[in-house]
């Protein structure tokens, strides 16, 4: 016992031990750490039908479903929540104040739908106040939404490769550094890229241009992006059925494995089997496939956005 104490007294004079002690003592309390982590890596709770799971930075969320199944609409409603500030001029809007990057591979987005939904959300929040419509707020929000469209996989890859530079530039302008990257129609060029794979390369050194290499590169680029920036990825993908009818397992999986395993969350949306309508609107069903939750939500798209069916 005496030896041990002596030994401890001796080594405690060594600088490394002091460092180790300092490390053990810690420099923040759990409460401080939680506050810091939640600020740097916030958990985001998205609107219906994605409301079951809070998402964090580095999550890759995939929304799959037949066409049409309100996939782009879900992205747009999430976008509205993201670009709205938490509060503005003392009014609570409950948004995140994050920037949204919309990579449109389907090339079908009509910006009018976003502006319409955003205006509606602002007007609803201002419902009780006497303020006229706040144009400055609208402008501020719309500026947080960035958009580009790609007509083929090479444009998609070039856009991905340029994202790091773009985010760095933006990082200097905005303090709040969380970005939500939306990719609408990740499988849009499936057929074109598959067509490429039969082209002879004439050189054993040369990489074959095909679906596989396109997604190898895309996933690689996204992984690098996630390491350097606070990014959350939301992607939509159109799927088709092989068998008649819809259930969790009946859609045709056509994406390369490298993409499939990159995705951290997957939700399936589709029109209801009984083709029910509410207020003359088509109703949809949302089911979580990854993680496999045993719950499903029914929703419909109205003028104001997505509403849950009880």
């Amino acid at each position: 016992m005496g030896h041990t104490l002596e030994f401890l007294r001796q080594i405690s004079n060594l600088p490394t031990v002091n460092m180790a002690k300092g490390w053990i003592n810690g420099d923040e309390t759990a409460k401080q750490m939680l506050a810091r982590v939640l600020k740097e890596r916030p958990l985001l709770l998205f609107p219906h039908p994605l409301h079951r799971i809070p998402f964090g930075i580095n999550n890759i969320v995939e929304i799959i479903g037949p066409s049409p199944s309100a996939k782009t609409e879900i992205l747009l409603q999430v976008a509205v929540t993201c670009i709205l500030p938490k509060n503005w001029n003392g009014i609570q809007y409950g948004g995140f104040g994050h920037s949204v990057l919309f990579l449109d591979l389907d090339c079908r987005l009509d910006i009018f739908r976003l502006s319409q939904s955003l205006k509606q959300r602002i007007a609803e929040t201002n419902h009780n106040s006497t303020h006229p419509f706040d144009m400055d707020l609208f402008t501020d929000c719309m500026k947080r939404f960035s958009y580009t469209r790609c007509y083929d996989s090479f444009q998609f890859l070039s856009a991905l490769k340029g994202l790091h530079t773009k985010l760095e530039k933006e990082g200097n302008e905005h303090r709040n550094g969380v970005h939500v990257l939306m990719i609408d129609g990740i499988g849009a060029f499936y057929w074109i890229d598959r067509g490429f794979s039969s082209l002879p390369q004439m050189n054993p050194n040369r990489k074959n241009i095909c679906l596989q290499t396109v997604f190898e590169t895309a996933v690689q680029e996204l992984k690098k992006l996630l390491m350097m920036h606070s990014v959350l990825v939301l992607a939509t993908r159109t799927v088709t059925t092989q068998v008649k009818g819809w259930s969790k397992t009946e859609y045709r999986e056509y994406m390369p494995l490298i993409w499939q395993s990159f995705v951290t969350h997957r939700i399936l949306v589709r029109p209801l089997d009984d083709k029910r309508k509410v207020h003359d609107r088509v109703c949809y069903l949302a089911e979580w496939l990854l993680p496999a939750l045993n719950l499903s939500d029914e929703f419909f798209v109205g003028n104001a956005g997505i509403s849950n069916l009880m």
Binding site: D106, I111, S115, T139, Y147, A159, R206, I209, T217, V282
Partner: protein, 315 residues
């Protein structure tokens, strides 16, 4: 895009040594470059004597590829472009226009689906006549020899509301505004579309307001089928080409898709699941032959509820 060699002329840094370095890694074209990881490529220059120069070359190539995608735009700029450049084109039928809040949208690809004799071609004629008379140039792709100048003349005269002898000048202008291409296969269609794209880019003052393809399904359906991916690849390519033309040059595009017998005798569009994703707007036409009344129903729209419908007559 294309061969790296072709860039050597414009960029001094892309020299023989750089091309050799790229070739040794199997990179001959910009496309090859895009499917490589930059960091790995940068790292592989380290052991070489001209490493710095090669890195500069890679950076230059990166800068070049940056221009290959459309520039990023913020929501406000996008909304402004839409409000200033993308208008509604009236179809010539009032209830049709009311349903669509003003007509067909420039920048959109609108698809008309319907069984045979549901009025697809007649609606195409009417939209073409109305736009040619009031707005400007129309390019009409006719795949079934159904384009009828006599019918167009009749419709233009009817829309203008003038007596036939007085309508002459307006009629001639409207007829001149319609350019008709008879196309009987996919390759002919792609050929003319690429030519149009080139003309729109290079000829200043050349404008098109409307492109009609009647019918696109009869051009695409024959090349689909089997395990062959080429047909689908061509289908998606033509879809994206149309979307690009529509957005870049503010053109409204209308394509028709006929219907065929599906399971259980139900009719379904000839172009199915993989095509569904292409058009912005999908409208279904039907016709009550007894009363000569037509109906149009919205099946998909970027910002309008599906399921709404309207009745209309064709003069």
């Amino acid at each position: 895009m294309g061969a790296l060699k072709s860039l050597a002329e414009d960029y001094a840094i892309i020299d023989t040594a750089f091309l050799q370095f790229c070739a040794s890694r199997g990179i001959f074209s910009v496309e090859d470059f895009l499917i490589h990881d930059m960091y790995t490529l940068m790292a592989s220059t380290e052991k070489l004597s001209n490493s710095d120069r090669l890195k500069q070359g890679i950076n230059q190539l990166l800068l070049i590829t940056e221009t290959y995608h459309q520039p990023w735009m913020n929501g406000l700029v996008l909304l402004e472009d839409r409000e200033q450049n993308k208008h509604y084109l009236p179809t010539g039928s009032e209830s049709f226009d009311v349903l669509l809040q003003g007509g067909l949208r420039e920048g959109h690809v609108t698809e008309l689906v319907g069984p045979s004799s549901s009025g697809k071609t007649q609606v195409c004629f009417q939209i073409a006549s109305n736009v040619a008379l009031k707005k400007g140039n129309v390019v009409f792709f006719d795949s079934g020899n159904s384009f009828s100048p006599t019918r167009i003349k009749q419709m233009v005269t009817h829309i203008s509301g003038l007596k036939e002898n007085k309508a002459n000048e307006a009629l001639q202008q409207a007829m001149r505004n319609i350019e008709c291409h008879a196309v009987f296969d996919m390759y002919a269609l792609l050929d003319v579309l690429h030519q149009l794209k080139l003309n729109l880019k290079s000829q200043i003052g050349y404008e098109i307001r409307l492109i009609i393809i009647d019918s696109i399904s009869s051009l695409i359906a024959p090349i689909l089928g089997g395990s062959n991916a080429q047909g689908h690849a061509l289908m998606v390519s033509v879809g994206y080409l149309l979307k690009e033309l529509a957005d870049r040059h503010n053109i409204a595009v209308v394509v028709t898709n006929h219907m065929v017998g599906g399971e259980g005798g139900n009719l379904k569009p000839a172009l199915g699941e993989s095509w569904k994703n292409i058009p912005h707007v999908r409208l279904q036409l039907s016709c009550n032959h007894a009363t000569n009344n037509y109906a149009v129903c919205i099946l998909r729209h970027p910002y309008m509820a599906s399921g709404k419908s309207a009745n209309f007559m064709i003069p």
